[in-house]
Protein backbone atom coordinates (compact mmCIF):
# COMPACT_ATOMS: atom_id res chain seq x y z
CA UNK A 1 0.00 0.00 0.00
CA UNK A 2 1.42 3.37 -1.00
CA UNK A 3 1.95 5.30 2.22
CA UNK A 4 3.69 8.42 0.95
CA UNK A 5 4.78 9.75 -2.39
CA UNK A 6 7.84 11.73 -1.50
CA UNK A 7 10.02 13.82 -3.75
CA UNK A 8 12.61 11.15 -4.38
CA UNK A 9 11.05 7.92 -3.21
CA UNK A 10 7.75 6.14 -2.75
CA UNK A 11 7.09 4.63 0.65
CA UNK A 12 4.97 1.48 0.87
CA UNK A 13 3.55 -0.02 4.02
CA UNK A 14 3.41 -3.81 3.69
CA UNK A 15 2.90 -6.84 5.94
CA UNK A 16 6.24 -8.30 7.06
CA UNK A 17 5.09 -11.77 6.01
CA UNK A 18 4.53 -10.70 2.45
CA UNK A 19 7.83 -8.97 1.88
CA UNK A 20 10.34 -10.96 3.90
CA UNK A 21 9.28 -14.21 5.54
CA UNK A 22 5.99 -15.91 6.11
CA UNK A 23 6.79 -16.45 9.78
CA UNK A 24 7.16 -12.74 10.40
CA UNK A 25 4.72 -10.42 12.02
CA UNK A 26 3.90 -6.76 11.88
CA UNK A 27 4.52 -4.31 9.12
CA UNK A 28 7.47 -3.10 7.13
CA UNK A 29 8.15 0.01 5.11
CA UNK A 30 9.55 -0.39 1.61
CA UNK A 31 11.37 2.71 0.42
CA UNK A 32 11.61 2.60 -3.32
CA UNK A 33 13.73 5.24 -5.02
CA UNK A 34 11.89 5.71 -8.25
CA UNK A 35 13.45 6.72 -11.51
CA UNK A 36 12.93 10.35 -12.46
CA UNK A 37 12.16 10.95 -16.08
CA UNK A 38 13.35 14.53 -15.96
CA UNK A 39 17.01 13.65 -15.48
CA UNK A 40 19.30 11.65 -17.73
CA UNK A 41 19.84 7.97 -17.00
CA UNK A 42 23.45 8.39 -15.87
CA UNK A 43 22.60 10.93 -13.16
CA UNK A 44 19.42 9.10 -12.22
CA UNK A 45 21.15 5.77 -11.70
CA UNK A 46 24.14 7.24 -9.89
CA UNK A 47 21.97 9.18 -7.43
CA UNK A 48 19.55 6.35 -6.72
CA UNK A 49 22.28 3.75 -6.27
CA UNK A 50 24.56 5.79 -4.06
CA UNK A 51 21.74 7.12 -1.93
CA UNK A 52 20.20 3.66 -1.41
CA UNK A 53 23.49 2.09 -0.35
CA UNK A 54 24.64 4.98 1.78
CA UNK A 55 21.29 5.44 3.47
CA UNK A 56 21.07 1.82 4.61
CA UNK A 57 24.54 2.06 6.14
CA UNK A 58 23.68 5.33 7.83
CA UNK A 59 20.53 3.88 9.41
CA UNK A 60 22.63 1.16 11.03
CA UNK A 61 25.37 3.52 12.18
CA UNK A 62 22.88 6.06 13.50
CA UNK A 63 21.35 3.37 15.69
CA UNK A 64 24.79 2.38 16.86
CA UNK A 65 25.42 6.01 17.81
CA UNK A 66 22.29 5.97 19.96
CA UNK A 67 19.93 7.74 17.60
CA UNK A 68 16.59 6.03 17.02
CA UNK A 69 16.34 4.97 13.38
CA UNK A 70 14.42 2.22 11.63
CA UNK A 71 15.98 -1.22 11.54
CA UNK A 72 16.99 -2.17 8.01
CA UNK A 73 15.86 -5.66 7.01
CA UNK A 74 16.99 -5.77 3.43
CA UNK A 75 18.77 -3.64 0.84
CA UNK A 76 18.09 -4.25 -2.83
CA UNK A 77 20.75 -2.35 -4.73
CA UNK A 78 19.47 -3.21 -8.19
CA UNK A 79 15.82 -2.55 -7.41
CA UNK A 80 16.80 0.55 -5.40
CA UNK A 81 14.70 -0.59 -2.44
CA UNK A 82 15.27 -0.57 1.27
CA UNK A 83 13.00 -2.73 3.43
CA UNK A 84 12.86 -1.41 6.96
CA UNK A 85 11.03 -1.31 10.24
CA UNK A 86 7.76 0.63 10.37
CA UNK A 87 7.91 3.39 12.96
CA UNK A 88 4.48 4.16 14.36
CA UNK A 89 4.12 7.76 15.40
CA UNK A 90 3.51 11.26 14.19
CA UNK A 91 5.69 13.48 12.04
CA UNK A 92 7.36 16.16 14.15
CA UNK A 93 6.33 18.57 11.39
CA UNK A 94 2.69 18.06 12.33
CA UNK A 95 3.04 18.37 16.09
CA UNK A 96 5.76 20.95 16.72
CA UNK A 97 3.63 24.08 16.33
CA UNK A 98 0.81 22.66 18.43
CA UNK A 99 2.82 21.65 21.50
CA UNK A 100 2.89 23.72 24.66
CA UNK A 101 6.08 25.80 24.86
CA UNK A 102 7.65 23.58 27.50
CA UNK A 103 6.94 20.35 25.63
CA UNK A 104 8.20 21.94 22.43
CA UNK A 105 11.40 22.96 24.14
CA UNK A 106 11.95 19.42 25.44
CA UNK A 107 11.33 17.93 22.02
CA UNK A 108 13.71 20.33 20.33
CA UNK A 109 16.38 19.70 22.94
CA UNK A 110 16.06 16.00 22.27
CA UNK A 111 16.43 16.61 18.54
CA UNK A 112 19.51 18.71 19.22
CA UNK A 113 20.99 15.95 21.38
CA UNK A 114 20.44 13.38 18.67
CA UNK A 115 22.04 15.54 16.01
CA UNK A 116 25.05 15.89 18.31
CA UNK A 117 25.23 12.10 18.67
CA UNK A 118 25.26 11.70 14.91
CA UNK A 119 27.99 14.30 14.56
CA UNK A 120 30.14 12.71 17.22
CA UNK A 121 29.84 9.43 15.35
CA UNK A 122 31.15 11.12 12.19
CA UNK A 123 27.73 11.24 10.50
CA UNK A 124 25.99 14.24 8.99
CA UNK A 125 22.30 13.94 8.23
CA UNK A 126 22.21 16.27 5.22
CA UNK A 127 18.48 16.92 5.39
CA UNK A 128 17.42 17.76 8.92
CA UNK A 129 13.80 18.78 8.58
CA UNK A 130 10.87 18.03 10.84
CA UNK A 131 9.16 15.99 8.15
CA UNK A 132 11.99 13.44 8.46
CA UNK A 133 11.42 12.93 12.17
CA UNK A 134 8.81 10.69 13.76
CA UNK A 135 7.70 11.19 17.36
CA UNK A 136 6.52 7.92 18.92
CA UNK A 137 4.05 7.56 21.74
CA UNK A 138 6.88 6.79 24.13
CA UNK A 139 8.44 10.14 23.29
CA UNK A 140 11.30 8.84 21.17
CA UNK A 141 12.25 10.74 18.02
CA UNK A 142 13.18 8.58 15.05
CA UNK A 143 15.23 9.98 12.18
CA UNK A 144 13.71 8.16 9.24
CA UNK A 145 15.42 9.63 6.18
CA UNK A 146 19.17 9.63 5.65
CA UNK A 147 18.93 9.94 1.87
CA UNK A 148 21.18 13.00 1.71
CA UNK A 149 23.42 11.97 4.60
CA UNK A 150 27.05 11.00 4.67
CA UNK A 151 30.18 10.36 6.69
CA UNK A 152 31.89 13.64 7.28
CA UNK A 153 33.69 14.78 10.42
CA UNK A 154 34.42 18.30 9.21
CA UNK A 155 33.30 21.36 11.10
CA UNK A 156 31.85 22.77 7.88
CA UNK A 157 29.61 19.73 7.26
CA UNK A 158 28.34 19.80 10.83
CA UNK A 159 27.68 23.51 10.57
CA UNK A 160 25.72 23.05 7.33
CA UNK A 161 23.68 20.33 9.03
CA UNK A 162 22.53 22.63 11.82
CA UNK A 163 22.03 25.48 9.37
CA UNK A 164 19.70 23.28 7.31
CA UNK A 165 17.65 22.49 10.39
CA UNK A 166 17.31 26.19 11.10
CA UNK A 167 16.28 26.83 7.48
CA UNK A 168 13.64 24.11 7.77
CA UNK A 169 12.33 25.70 10.95
CA UNK A 170 12.19 29.06 9.16
CA UNK A 171 10.22 27.84 6.19
CA UNK A 172 7.91 25.37 7.97
CA UNK A 173 7.69 26.49 11.60
CA UNK A 174 8.01 30.24 11.12
CA UNK A 175 5.97 31.04 14.21
CA UNK A 176 8.29 29.23 16.61
CA UNK A 177 11.60 29.29 14.70
CA UNK A 178 13.69 31.14 17.25
CA UNK A 179 12.63 29.36 20.41
CA UNK A 180 12.78 25.97 18.69
CA UNK A 181 16.24 26.59 17.29
CA UNK A 182 17.51 27.86 20.65
CA UNK A 183 16.33 24.64 22.29
CA UNK A 184 17.95 22.55 19.55
CA UNK A 185 21.26 24.30 20.21
CA UNK A 186 20.92 23.83 23.96
CA UNK A 187 20.46 20.07 23.49
CA UNK A 188 23.26 19.95 20.95
CA UNK A 189 25.71 21.69 23.30
CA UNK A 190 24.89 19.45 26.21
CA UNK A 191 25.34 16.24 24.24
CA UNK A 192 28.25 17.23 22.06
CA UNK A 193 30.27 18.61 24.93
CA UNK A 194 33.58 20.21 24.17
CA UNK A 195 33.76 21.66 20.67
CA UNK A 196 30.03 22.38 20.35
CA UNK A 197 30.57 26.11 20.39
CA UNK A 198 32.97 25.80 17.45
CA UNK A 199 30.22 24.12 15.44
CA UNK A 200 27.68 26.75 16.44
CA UNK A 201 30.10 29.53 15.53
CA UNK A 202 30.54 27.86 12.16
CA UNK A 203 26.77 27.85 11.64
CA UNK A 204 26.75 31.59 12.18
CA UNK A 205 29.62 32.01 9.77
CA UNK A 206 27.84 29.91 7.13
CA UNK A 207 24.75 32.05 7.53
CA UNK A 208 26.70 35.28 7.28
CA UNK A 209 28.30 34.21 4.03
CA UNK A 210 24.91 33.31 2.51
CA UNK A 211 23.71 35.05 -0.59
CA UNK A 212 20.67 36.77 0.94
CA UNK A 213 22.06 38.14 4.17
CA UNK A 214 21.83 41.84 5.09
CA UNK A 215 25.15 43.66 5.06
CA UNK A 216 25.26 44.39 8.77
CA UNK A 217 25.02 40.65 9.53
CA UNK A 218 27.65 39.53 7.05
CA UNK A 219 31.03 37.97 7.75
CA UNK A 220 32.80 40.69 5.80
CA UNK A 221 31.59 44.19 4.96
Amino acid sequence: MLMKKGAEANLYLEPFARVLHRAGEGKVVVKHRISKRYRILEIDKQLRESRTTLESKLFADAKRAGVPAPLVYEVDRTGMRIVMEFIDGRQVKLVLDKLRPKARRKLCELIGRQVARLHRAGIVHGDLTTSNMILTRKGRVYFVDFGLGGYNPLLEARGVDLHLLRRALQSIHFQVTDEAYRAVLAGYKREFGEGASEVIERVEEIERRGRYVPKEERAWR
Partner: protein, 328 residues
Protein backbone atom coordinates in the same frame (compact mmCIF):
# COMPACT_ATOMS: atom_id res chain seq x y z
CA UNK B 1 -4.74 54.33 -11.52
CA UNK B 2 -1.46 54.22 -13.41
CA UNK B 3 1.72 52.96 -11.81
CA UNK B 4 5.15 53.57 -13.27
CA UNK B 5 7.68 50.94 -12.20
CA UNK B 6 11.44 51.27 -12.42
CA UNK B 7 13.63 48.19 -12.48
CA UNK B 8 17.38 48.48 -12.02
CA UNK B 9 18.79 45.70 -9.85
CA UNK B 10 21.49 44.48 -12.23
CA UNK B 11 22.16 44.78 -15.96
CA UNK B 12 18.66 45.84 -17.05
CA UNK B 13 17.15 49.29 -16.70
CA UNK B 14 13.43 49.01 -17.29
CA UNK B 15 10.39 51.24 -17.07
CA UNK B 16 6.93 49.69 -17.07
CA UNK B 17 3.51 51.29 -16.92
CA UNK B 18 0.64 49.19 -15.59
CA UNK B 19 -2.92 50.11 -14.66
CA UNK B 20 -4.69 48.96 -11.52
CA UNK B 21 -6.48 46.14 -13.35
CA UNK B 22 -3.19 44.60 -14.40
CA UNK B 23 -3.07 45.83 -17.96
CA UNK B 24 0.51 46.42 -19.08
CA UNK B 25 0.60 49.64 -21.14
CA UNK B 26 4.34 49.76 -21.60
CA UNK B 27 7.39 47.69 -20.74
CA UNK B 28 10.50 49.43 -22.07
CA UNK B 29 14.03 48.43 -21.18
CA UNK B 30 17.68 48.62 -22.08
CA UNK B 31 20.29 46.11 -21.07
CA UNK B 32 23.92 46.81 -20.28
CA UNK B 33 26.31 44.48 -22.08
CA UNK B 34 29.83 44.50 -20.67
CA UNK B 35 32.67 44.99 -23.18
CA UNK B 36 34.43 42.08 -21.54
CA UNK B 37 33.98 39.94 -18.46
CA UNK B 38 30.85 39.98 -16.32
CA UNK B 39 28.70 42.83 -15.05
CA UNK B 40 30.76 45.63 -13.56
CA UNK B 41 28.39 47.16 -10.98
CA UNK B 42 29.59 50.75 -11.36
CA UNK B 43 29.60 50.64 -15.14
CA UNK B 44 26.14 49.08 -15.14
CA UNK B 45 24.93 51.89 -12.87
CA UNK B 46 26.44 54.49 -15.20
CA UNK B 47 24.70 52.77 -18.10
CA UNK B 48 21.39 53.04 -16.22
CA UNK B 49 21.92 56.72 -15.47
CA UNK B 50 22.81 57.45 -19.09
CA UNK B 51 19.82 55.55 -20.48
CA UNK B 52 17.13 56.34 -17.91
CA UNK B 53 15.70 59.23 -19.90
CA UNK B 54 15.49 57.31 -23.17
CA UNK B 55 13.84 54.29 -21.55
CA UNK B 56 11.38 56.49 -19.64
CA UNK B 57 10.42 58.39 -22.80
CA UNK B 58 10.06 55.10 -24.67
CA UNK B 59 7.69 53.76 -22.03
CA UNK B 60 5.53 56.90 -21.97
CA UNK B 61 5.34 56.92 -25.74
CA UNK B 62 4.42 53.23 -25.95
CA UNK B 63 1.72 53.70 -23.29
CA UNK B 64 0.52 56.92 -24.96
CA UNK B 65 0.36 58.71 -21.65
CA UNK B 66 1.94 61.86 -20.30
CA UNK B 67 4.20 61.71 -17.27
CA UNK B 68 1.58 63.77 -15.37
CA UNK B 69 -0.89 60.89 -15.79
CA UNK B 70 1.19 58.68 -13.50
CA UNK B 71 -0.44 58.24 -10.07
CA UNK B 72 2.08 56.01 -8.35
CA UNK B 73 5.79 55.27 -8.54
CA UNK B 74 7.35 51.89 -7.75
CA UNK B 75 10.98 50.87 -7.94
CA UNK B 76 13.12 47.80 -7.32
CA UNK B 77 14.71 48.36 -3.90
CA UNK B 78 16.51 45.00 -3.77
CA UNK B 79 18.01 42.47 -3.82
CA UNK B 80 20.65 43.50 -6.33
CA UNK B 81 23.88 45.33 -7.03
CA UNK B 82 24.31 48.42 -4.83
CA UNK B 83 25.27 51.02 -7.46
CA UNK B 84 22.49 49.88 -9.82
CA UNK B 85 19.87 49.86 -7.07
CA UNK B 86 20.87 53.35 -5.94
CA UNK B 87 20.66 54.71 -9.48
CA UNK B 88 17.17 53.31 -10.03
CA UNK B 89 16.09 54.50 -6.59
CA UNK B 90 17.37 58.01 -7.26
CA UNK B 91 15.42 58.14 -10.52
CA UNK B 92 12.30 56.91 -8.73
CA UNK B 93 12.60 59.37 -5.84
CA UNK B 94 13.24 62.29 -8.16
CA UNK B 95 10.21 61.45 -10.29
CA UNK B 96 7.94 60.82 -7.31
CA UNK B 97 8.83 64.10 -5.62
CA UNK B 98 8.54 66.08 -8.81
CA UNK B 99 5.17 64.54 -9.70
CA UNK B 100 4.15 64.58 -6.02
CA UNK B 101 2.87 60.99 -6.10
CA UNK B 102 3.39 58.16 -3.57
CA UNK B 103 6.46 55.92 -3.90
CA UNK B 104 6.68 52.19 -3.16
CA UNK B 105 9.76 49.98 -2.64
CA UNK B 106 9.32 46.64 -4.39
CA UNK B 107 11.19 43.39 -3.76
CA UNK B 108 12.58 42.23 -7.09
CA UNK B 109 12.11 38.47 -6.50
CA UNK B 110 8.49 38.91 -5.41
CA UNK B 111 7.85 41.06 -8.49
CA UNK B 112 8.98 38.15 -10.67
CA UNK B 113 6.42 35.87 -9.00
CA UNK B 114 3.62 38.45 -9.15
CA UNK B 115 4.02 39.32 -12.83
CA UNK B 116 4.04 35.58 -13.57
CA UNK B 117 0.84 35.08 -11.60
CA UNK B 118 -0.70 37.98 -13.51
CA UNK B 119 0.23 36.94 -17.05
CA UNK B 120 -0.28 33.19 -16.53
CA UNK B 121 -3.31 33.48 -14.28
CA UNK B 122 -1.56 31.21 -11.83
CA UNK B 123 -3.17 31.15 -8.40
CA UNK B 124 -0.71 29.64 -6.02
CA UNK B 125 2.40 28.26 -7.72
CA UNK B 126 5.63 26.84 -6.41
CA UNK B 127 8.01 29.11 -8.32
CA UNK B 128 11.51 28.30 -9.46
CA UNK B 129 13.14 31.67 -10.04
CA UNK B 130 16.47 31.30 -11.81
CA UNK B 131 18.64 34.06 -13.23
CA UNK B 132 22.17 35.40 -13.30
CA UNK B 133 21.61 37.08 -9.95
CA UNK B 134 19.15 34.85 -8.09
CA UNK B 135 18.20 31.23 -7.58
CA UNK B 136 15.24 30.52 -5.29
CA UNK B 137 12.32 28.16 -4.87
CA UNK B 138 9.44 30.30 -3.62
CA UNK B 139 5.98 29.35 -2.37
CA UNK B 140 3.34 31.31 -0.47
CA UNK B 141 2.40 30.28 3.05
CA UNK B 142 0.80 32.20 5.91
CA UNK B 143 1.19 35.77 4.76
CA UNK B 144 4.59 35.58 3.15
CA UNK B 145 6.48 34.11 0.25
CA UNK B 146 8.60 31.44 1.90
CA UNK B 147 11.90 30.31 0.45
CA UNK B 148 11.85 26.52 0.09
CA UNK B 149 15.30 26.40 -1.38
CA UNK B 150 17.96 28.80 -2.49
CA UNK B 151 21.54 28.85 -3.61
CA UNK B 152 24.10 28.97 -0.85
CA UNK B 153 26.66 30.59 -3.12
CA UNK B 154 26.31 31.57 -6.80
CA UNK B 155 23.07 31.61 -8.82
CA UNK B 156 22.68 29.04 -11.59
CA UNK B 157 22.76 31.69 -14.33
CA UNK B 158 26.05 32.95 -12.94
CA UNK B 159 27.37 29.38 -12.90
CA UNK B 160 26.60 29.03 -16.63
CA UNK B 161 27.96 32.50 -17.49
CA UNK B 162 31.20 32.15 -15.57
CA UNK B 163 31.75 28.65 -16.96
CA UNK B 164 31.22 30.02 -20.48
CA UNK B 165 33.73 32.78 -19.82
CA UNK B 166 36.19 30.30 -18.34
CA UNK B 167 36.14 28.20 -21.49
CA UNK B 168 36.21 31.16 -23.87
CA UNK B 169 32.54 31.42 -24.91
CA UNK B 170 30.97 34.89 -25.37
CA UNK B 171 28.64 36.72 -22.96
CA UNK B 172 25.89 35.94 -22.10
CA UNK B 173 27.08 32.38 -21.64
CA UNK B 174 23.75 30.67 -20.90
CA UNK B 175 22.33 30.62 -24.45
CA UNK B 176 25.67 29.50 -25.93
CA UNK B 177 26.02 26.70 -23.41
CA UNK B 178 22.48 25.60 -24.25
CA UNK B 179 23.22 25.52 -27.98
CA UNK B 180 26.43 23.53 -27.55
CA UNK B 181 24.76 21.20 -25.06
CA UNK B 182 22.32 20.02 -27.74
CA UNK B 183 25.23 18.37 -29.53
CA UNK B 184 26.67 16.84 -26.40
CA UNK B 185 26.14 13.13 -25.99
CA UNK B 186 28.47 11.67 -23.43
CA UNK B 187 27.83 12.48 -19.79
CA UNK B 188 30.92 13.61 -17.91
CA UNK B 189 30.36 13.12 -14.16
CA UNK B 190 30.29 16.45 -12.30
CA UNK B 191 29.59 17.22 -8.63
CA UNK B 192 25.86 17.13 -7.91
CA UNK B 193 25.17 19.23 -4.83
CA UNK B 194 21.89 19.37 -2.94
CA UNK B 195 22.16 20.41 0.67
CA UNK B 196 18.81 19.72 2.25
CA UNK B 197 16.51 22.18 0.55
CA UNK B 198 19.35 24.30 -0.72
CA UNK B 199 21.73 24.30 -3.65
CA UNK B 200 25.32 25.16 -4.39
CA UNK B 201 26.82 25.73 -7.82
CA UNK B 202 30.30 27.10 -7.23
CA UNK B 203 32.01 23.71 -6.96
CA UNK B 204 30.18 22.48 -10.05
CA UNK B 205 31.32 25.51 -12.01
CA UNK B 206 34.96 25.16 -10.94
CA UNK B 207 35.02 21.45 -11.74
CA UNK B 208 33.47 21.98 -15.17
CA UNK B 209 36.12 24.56 -16.07
CA UNK B 210 38.81 22.22 -14.78
CA UNK B 211 37.48 19.36 -16.92
CA UNK B 212 37.70 21.64 -19.96
CA UNK B 213 41.33 22.43 -19.21
CA UNK B 214 41.94 18.70 -18.88
CA UNK B 215 40.76 18.31 -22.46
CA UNK B 216 37.09 17.26 -22.17
CA UNK B 217 34.92 17.80 -25.24
CA UNK B 218 33.15 21.16 -24.93
CA UNK B 219 29.81 19.90 -26.25
CA UNK B 220 29.80 17.03 -23.78
CA UNK B 221 30.83 19.36 -21.02
CA UNK B 222 28.03 21.89 -21.72
CA UNK B 223 25.57 19.00 -21.84
CA UNK B 224 26.84 17.56 -18.56
CA UNK B 225 26.91 20.93 -16.83
CA UNK B 226 23.31 21.68 -17.77
CA UNK B 227 22.07 18.22 -16.88
CA UNK B 228 23.76 18.29 -13.47
CA UNK B 229 22.76 21.82 -12.50
CA UNK B 230 19.18 21.47 -13.74
CA UNK B 231 18.63 18.04 -12.15
CA UNK B 232 19.55 19.60 -8.80
CA UNK B 233 17.19 22.55 -9.43
CA UNK B 234 14.30 20.27 -10.34
CA UNK B 235 14.95 17.99 -7.38
CA UNK B 236 14.76 20.89 -4.94
CA UNK B 237 11.64 22.26 -6.63
CA UNK B 238 10.07 18.81 -6.49
CA UNK B 239 10.74 18.64 -2.77
CA UNK B 240 8.87 21.93 -2.33
CA UNK B 241 5.98 20.62 -4.45
CA UNK B 242 5.83 17.38 -2.44
CA UNK B 243 6.00 19.30 0.81
CA UNK B 244 3.44 22.02 0.06
CA UNK B 245 1.21 19.82 -2.13
CA UNK B 246 0.54 22.80 -4.36
CA UNK B 247 -0.85 22.06 -7.79
CA UNK B 248 1.00 24.66 -9.83
CA UNK B 249 4.64 25.01 -10.81
CA UNK B 250 6.04 28.17 -12.37
CA UNK B 251 9.44 28.82 -13.92
CA UNK B 252 10.72 32.36 -14.26
CA UNK B 253 13.88 34.47 -14.46
CA UNK B 254 16.41 34.78 -17.26
CA UNK B 255 17.36 31.08 -17.20
CA UNK B 256 13.69 30.21 -17.83
CA UNK B 257 14.53 30.79 -21.49
CA UNK B 258 16.42 27.49 -21.45
CA UNK B 259 14.34 24.87 -23.27
CA UNK B 260 15.94 21.91 -21.52
CA UNK B 261 15.18 23.30 -18.07
CA UNK B 262 11.57 23.92 -19.15
CA UNK B 263 11.26 20.38 -20.39
CA UNK B 264 12.65 18.90 -17.17
CA UNK B 265 10.50 20.99 -14.88
CA UNK B 266 7.42 20.22 -16.93
CA UNK B 267 8.05 16.47 -16.64
CA UNK B 268 8.31 16.85 -12.88
CA UNK B 269 5.14 18.95 -12.69
CA UNK B 270 3.26 16.36 -14.74
CA UNK B 271 4.27 13.60 -12.35
CA UNK B 272 2.67 15.57 -9.53
CA UNK B 273 -0.37 16.40 -11.65
CA UNK B 274 0.54 20.06 -11.31
CA UNK B 275 -0.02 22.72 -13.95
CA UNK B 276 3.14 24.18 -15.42
CA UNK B 277 3.63 27.84 -16.32
CA UNK B 278 6.37 29.86 -17.94
CA UNK B 279 5.54 33.55 -18.47
CA UNK B 280 6.38 35.09 -21.87
CA UNK B 281 10.05 35.92 -22.25
CA UNK B 282 9.65 39.68 -21.70
CA UNK B 283 8.09 38.99 -18.28
CA UNK B 284 10.61 36.30 -17.29
CA UNK B 285 13.50 38.68 -17.60
CA UNK B 286 13.97 41.74 -15.39
CA UNK B 287 11.51 44.43 -16.43
CA UNK B 288 9.70 47.54 -15.23
CA UNK B 289 6.22 46.07 -15.66
CA UNK B 290 6.74 43.53 -12.88
CA UNK B 291 7.81 46.31 -10.52
CA UNK B 292 4.84 48.51 -11.51
CA UNK B 293 2.32 45.70 -11.02
CA UNK B 294 3.71 44.72 -7.64
CA UNK B 295 3.70 48.41 -6.68
CA UNK B 296 -0.01 48.49 -7.42
CA UNK B 297 -0.64 45.40 -5.27
CA UNK B 298 1.27 46.94 -2.37
CA UNK B 299 -0.43 50.33 -2.72
CA UNK B 300 -3.93 48.90 -3.04
CA UNK B 301 -3.43 47.16 0.29
CA UNK B 302 -2.80 50.37 2.08
CA UNK B 303 0.96 50.37 2.45
CA UNK B 304 2.49 53.84 2.35
CA UNK B 305 6.08 54.95 2.53
CA UNK B 306 7.86 58.16 3.29
CA UNK B 307 10.63 59.23 0.97
CA UNK B 308 13.21 58.67 3.67
CA UNK B 309 12.10 55.06 3.98
CA UNK B 310 13.04 54.24 0.40
CA UNK B 311 16.61 53.14 1.05
CA UNK B 312 17.87 50.25 -1.09
CA UNK B 313 18.39 46.77 0.37
CA UNK B 314 21.06 44.84 -1.50
CA UNK B 315 20.25 41.55 0.20
CA UNK B 316 16.54 41.97 0.82
CA UNK B 317 15.17 38.51 1.49
CA UNK B 318 12.01 37.28 -0.21
CA UNK B 319 10.65 35.99 3.12
CA UNK B 320 11.06 39.34 4.89
CA UNK B 321 8.18 40.95 3.03
CA UNK B 322 4.58 40.83 4.26
CA UNK B 323 2.15 40.01 1.46
CA UNK B 324 -1.22 41.47 2.52
CA UNK B 325 -2.75 41.05 -0.93
CA UNK B 326 -2.79 37.29 -0.62
CA UNK B 327 -4.74 35.27 1.90
CA UNK B 328 -4.13 31.90 3.51
Amino acid sequence: MLCLGIEGTAHTFGVGIVDSRGKVLANALKTYVPAKGGIHPREAAQFHAANARVVLDGALKAARVAIEDVDLLAFSAGPGLGPCLRTAATAARALASWLDVPIISVNHCIAHVEIGRLTERARDPVTLYVSGGNTQVIAFDAGRYRVFGETLDIPVGNCLDVFARGVGLPYPGGPTVERLAREGKRYIPLPYVVKGMDLSFSGLMTEAVRKHRAGADLHDLCFSLQETAFAALVEVTERAVAHTEKKEVMLTGGVAANQRLREMLKLMANEHKAKFFVPPREYCQDCGAMIAWTGILVYKHGLRQKLRETGVKQRWRTDQVDIPWRTG
